[in-house]
């Protein structure tokens, strides 16, 4: 089974809905969505530990974990449909009634899609040899300036079809710094005039496809 976020969400839902119903199920699903969706499946145990305030999960943690691993190793035939629509309905209802706790009401924004469009457009305008130099430069700077290791690792792997960009909980400030390192790399290779144009086009392209105001790509250019 291809390990997309959607597939992982369906797997978690498939397992949890056998044990949990109603509020408990949706709260757990949102917790997973906000804090674990970007992480690898090996962190699912941590997710179940995090749900110790939900008695049904706390009491069956090891069993649920085995089920989750089993279903993720499976071919995907047993997976329930993606629960995202119901999750959003639940979130809206809770938001209206004001009963959702703050952590889940204001989930960490997922910049993956937007950032990927920015990078794809940006690197798409570079020759392959220039792109390699820019990427290497940005990687070196990321390591030197202690940008989140997860982000640097993901950026390093990104660029071929096998490895999608996974940003995890990367802070916006880290995303801005990485983008700046890429910009400086382009400056060094092509000069600042082209670098300004390329960065500008990348941000504009991402803004055109972005539908979420919270992940407006122009925020990547804020102070």
């Amino acid at each position: 089974m291809t390990m997309t976020i959607e597939a992982k969400r369906r797997a978690v839902f498939t397992v949890l809905q056998e044990t949990l119903q109603g509020d408990g199920l949706w709260r757990a699903m949102w917790r997973w969505q906000n804090h674990y969706a970007q992480k690898s499946q090996f962190e699912l145990n941590g997710f179940l530990s995090d749900c110790k305030d939900i008695p049904e999960v706390a009491n069956n943690r090891s069993q649920l974990y085995r089920q989750l691993i089993g279903i993720l190793m499976d071919d995907g035939a047993r997976l329930k449909p993606d629960p995202m629509e119901e999750m959003l309905k639940y979130q809206s209802a809770q938001q209206r009634s004001g009963s959702l706790d703050e952590m889940e009401l204001f989930p960490a924004q997922d910049w993956t899609d937007v950032y990927e469009v920015v990078l794809t457009t940006l690197f798409g305008q570079l020759r392959s040899d220039t792109a390699r130099v820019v990427k290497r430069y940005a990687m070196e700077q990321s390591l030197r300036h202690s940008i989140s290791q997860e982000l640097a690792y993901s950026f390093n792997l990104w660029g071929d079809d096998k490895h999608p960009l996974v940003l995890g909980d990367s802070a916006l400030v880290d995303l801005k710094r990485l983008l700046n390192f890429i910009y400086i790399g382009v400056c060094e290779c092509l000069g600042p005039v082209d670098a300004d144009r390329i960065l500008s086009l990348s941000i504009r392209s991402a803004a055109e496809v972005n539908r979420n105001a919270a992940t407006d790509p122009r925020q990547l250019l804020e102070k």
Binding site: R177, L190, G191, P192, V193, D196, L199, S200, R218, E222
Partner: protein, 433 residues
Amino acid sequence: MKWIMWTVLSTLSVPVMAGETSVELSINTLWVVMAAALVFFMQAGFALLESGMSRAKNAVNVMMKNYMDVCLGSLIFWLVGYGLMFGENFTGFFGASHFALFNTSAESQSWDYTVLLFQIMFAATAVTICSGAMAERTKYDAYLIATCVITAFIYPVFGSWVWGGMYGGSGWLAKLGFIDFAGSTVVHSVGAWCALAGIIVLGARTGRFDRTTGAARSIPGHNLSLVALGGFILWLGWFGFNGGSTLAASPEIGLIVLNTQLAAAAGATGALLFSRITRRPVLLTSTINGSIAGLVGITAGCASMAPEFAALTGLIAGAISVYGAAWLERRRLDDVVGAIPVHGFAGAWGTLAAGLFLKDNMFDLSQIAVQLVGIFSAFFWAFPLSLILFFLIDRVIGLRASTQHEQQGLDFTEHDEVGYPEFHQNVTYHREL
């Protein structure tokens, strides 16, 4: 020649002391104040020229630096610089009285005020040369600190060597007979050597030079119309700069202003010819820089040169400005507006030319030697000191803006406002409304 020094020094102090009539004093004052206003207007020229040669995202920052150069320069030169430059100078190395004109005598007071006003404009001109060379990557606060130190110390101390002794004593270069009528070296070269130190400590703008080949990449200015307008304004202001340096409404002004005009015109022509001969494109920026180089070049000898030699001085200065800009580029020194070739190299040439083409005493070897001593003194005074200054600023508060600020543009990061909010073509910054 001694007579020129005598003329300059005597016009500084004589009007009141020799019992000048109140009408003469009034006319002289009127002329010098008007000239000061013209020199003040040069700041607008510098601001437009430098801003136009910078990218749109740094236009406000460049303007702000020019604006604050005048503001801080005026206050600091009034408080400290004037006393160091023109105060009693019995050592020959610095003045030591008349700080803020506190102890000026009642009889010379009105004239002192006039000279101070005029000299404030000169100090502001010297320091503003740095802003253009160091544009687009310098922290605003760090730049302002450097401005204060240059205006308070580096510029006036060298000035005292040449123009000092208005209230007693004399500068050591003046005693040698060094000719620098309106400041090719005192104002322009000193400013340029400070700028050279600044760009060495700063480094080039990101991406200005190819890392592997070292080839320079063009970073065009955002508005060449502003550059042209700035050039015209500077040219106009220079009539006050050179003409006002007589410090008297005297008949010599005609020759001085004519020489100024011819040198500027020849400077642009020199830049054009040199560009053509060396198969370079004839750029607007280098043409305007050529005329400014002509103006800088004639500043030292505008009162002591025949018009044909003024034109020759300007012609060569214009060529030097084009060659000098390329020379700096080959050394990977990023001077955004070409301030160093225009003010430094052309200033040095002009100072030498003032000795070479001295009316009635051309090619006098002893005079040429004195001119060379003055030229090198300026370099070895201003360059190392400002190198130390910029290095210290860099270590203590940082001189260079961060790469993120360079990316977003200093208008946005330093001032939170942008020059062209409605016409900004490249999205390099974002501010939530």
